[in-house]
Symmetry: C2
């Protein structure tokens, strides 16, 4: 398979820079007239894929909303992943997994090699970037991606993310530098296998985002307050096609009949801002 970052760049070139979060929360299921059960999840996902195929390059199911319904919910997620792939959409599973050793490898089995295999998985680095190496290895070997949560879109994260490491840089800058090093390590499949999640609500970090070398996923557009102009400023100078601003509630809240038009509008705004 072509490496993840190259697939994203090509898909953004074809369909524009927007990742649509598929967030079947209780509130959105209700707004869409669906039951809060596994069948409701299935209908919600199928309608999203139908509305978005060909219009945007990437969808991002939020795994928590599937996990709410246990194994039946996870089965609905498996179905969604298959439907999205059939429709030519890339899939990022927003799972924010993160653990050490054989457990990290088990998450790689689940999300990069196994029954839930997606184009990329979000991970959380509280256990240290080095502990996530089994996930990076799996991404390199499969042409999939791992997106490390570096700077979250919410304010509470800054206590941890802006703390100073013993080397004197902030945690988020240390992570960005380490991810850039992974992408230029020369290991087979390394280029662009690891990306970063950087909230579109955040100020530019000290390490230039243009040096990271992988996909930059930017949640926080729309309901969380970031605009297309904010995205343009934050990711100024980044490789065209490698930035994926992500919106969810602001697009899904109008119901399935509005989704295509809302996604097209935001996609075009973002394309203008990311020129």
């Amino acid at each position: 398979m072509q490496p993840f970052t190259e697939r994203v760049v090509d898909a953004v070139g074809a369909s524009g820079p927007l990742c649509v979060g598929i967030d079947p929360s209780p509130a959105l299921l209700d707004a869409w007239g669906l039951n809060d059960d596994a069948e409701g999840l299935g209908t919600f996902g199928a309608r999203c894929i139908e509305a978005l195929a060909g219009l945007v390059p990437v969808v991002k199911p939020q795994v928590a909303f599937y996990e709410r319904h246990g194994s039946a919910g996870v089965a609905a997620l498996e179905a969604l992943i298959g439907q999205a792939a059939d429709a030519g959409l890339l899939v990022i599973a927003d799972a924010k997994r993160g653990d050490i050793g054989s457990t990290a490898d088990a998450y790689a089995d689940a999300w990069l090699r196994g029954p839930l295999a997606v184009d990329a998985l979000t991970v959380t680095p509280y256990v240290g970037l080095g502990a996530l190496e089994p996930l990076f290895d799996a991404a390199r070997a499969t042409g999939r991606g791992v997106l490390v949560l570096v700077a979250s879109s919410n304010p509470e994260g800054r206590t941890v993310q802006e703390a100073r490491t013993t080397q004197g840089s902030s945690v988020q800058d240390a992570l960005l530098g380490a991810i850039a090093a992974l992408n230029t390590s020369g290991a087979p499949g390394a280029v662009g296998a690891v990306g970063a999640v950087v909230g579109a609500t955040r100020a530019p970090p000290a390490v230039p985002l243009s040096t990271v070398g992988g996909v930059l996923l930017a949640p926080g557009v729309g309901a969380q307050g970031a605009t297309a102009a904010d995205v343009g400023r934050l990711f100024d100078g980044c490789r065209p096609g490698s930035v994926l601003p992500s919106a969810s509630r602001s697009l899904l809240g109008g119901g399935p009949s509005q989704l295509s038009a809302a996604a097209e509008r935001l996609r075009d705004d973002l394309a203008g801002a990311l020129l």
Copy 2:
């Protein structure tokens, strides 16, 4: 339901201080002569419960090893949770979930109110402790617990966990202080609803662990190198019954026929060290 910490203290008083990690990794399934599929997971779990009921107070399934098999694996985990409860064992789901807003609430639905409801859930605080409030609320309301990963057992985590916040303390100390404050906030159900995960391989943090006021889960005993004596030193002065050292591979590696004896031996060593 009686609050989580009180249930742990009672259970440790009856069965001793040991949490057994249920880690059906590919290597352990093979060592136990089981297939690496959902049926193998089911048999592995059932044999663990059979061997451990009445001998130890708590089991800790590692969710990643179930997620490897997608929805079928999660169904095996649902079965395990039910079997453990029927056998009188408390269950900590080692999922290390962590996200913000409605997503944090969705994880609370899954693990504290819904189809996967367990006695306690491990969470990861990279998004900030404040963002996890929906999980703490759910724990307070249900008598369940949330265990925040503060200091992981692996060395790579220290870059983040020992970084200095703008207030001058380390991230891990800031979290321990904030958890202690949650447990003494006076909110209904608050006492002991939030605990911490502190690797048994770590040195004592600056904030005394005896002040945290919730359950202290201590992975890293056995295969990762920590001994009963290390546990005794690290948790010196903590409330009796509130410390749960956890071991997995060192107990499971000998196969199901050895598990009861291995768990009893370690439990008794730990009881001596935690006097």
